[in-house]
Symmetry: C2
């Protein structure tokens, strides 16, 4: 299995497969005599694992830890769960941040009449968030 086929089969681009190999996230596959990478079923499995972890928002370093837990057949499920819960907490923090931004902007946009006139509370807020009038 070539890198292109592995990319199609795993959903990870060939570029990223090489990158993951270069940083030691995945094992270097075997090579043909001419140097082409050759992937087996197990490699594709790992690549899909990585793909899925990334899709769930884990960083590459976190994915590395998850891979280690996955390969460690004697891990405690409590460790995995704690890892997941920590990540959920980080996701929730980020969500709250974005919601704060969206809420503020919605409020400003709501107060902006949105017509041909130049007066705009959105720009006014950006220029002076505290609403300190400069007389």
């Amino acid at each position: 299995m070539n890198i292109g086929e592995a990319a199609t089969a795993s959903g990870v681009s060939a570029k990223m497969i090489r990158y993951y190999e270069s940083i030691g996230l995945i094992q270097p596959p075997s090579r043909t005599e001419s140097g082409y990478r050759v992937y087996a079923g197990e490699d594709i499995h790992s690549l899909r694992f990585v793909k899925r972890a990334r899709a769930l928002g884990f960083s590459i370093e976190e994915t590395r830890e998850l891979l280690a837990l996955w390969r460690d057949k004697s891990r405690a499920s409590a460790d995995v769960k704690a890892f997941a819960l920590k990540h959920i907490g980080e996701l929730e923090t980020k969500i709250a941040e974005l919601q704060g931004m969206a809420r503020t902007l919605r409020h400003l946009a709501h107060n902006c009449h949105g017509d041909d006139r130049p007066d705009c509370p959105i720009l006014e807020d950006l220029a002076d968030p505290a609403g300190v009038k400069c007389h």
Copy 2:
């Protein structure tokens, strides 16, 4: 006003002030004979505008457009509002993505007993999201 004082006054680090200047986001300030940057009230105002826009999640390029709208006294508030609404939409998209991740992870974590045993639905999902059992 030195760059350090401008940083304190605006909440933008000296490093970033120089960077914003280098990419043409803010006007180069005047300099002392010895080359020190000297900031005036108007500069601080712009820096705070940038800071606020960034805090609301606008990219630097978007901030550049907002600055242009701000300086253009004849802009239509409709343009600003459309800009804000577009950004709100992007924020909401990102929020929905993160919520999807968090929801999935919460579901998986909920089904993980989290004890000393190695069995873990979280890792099982990462390894095989579709739940295709490999016999």
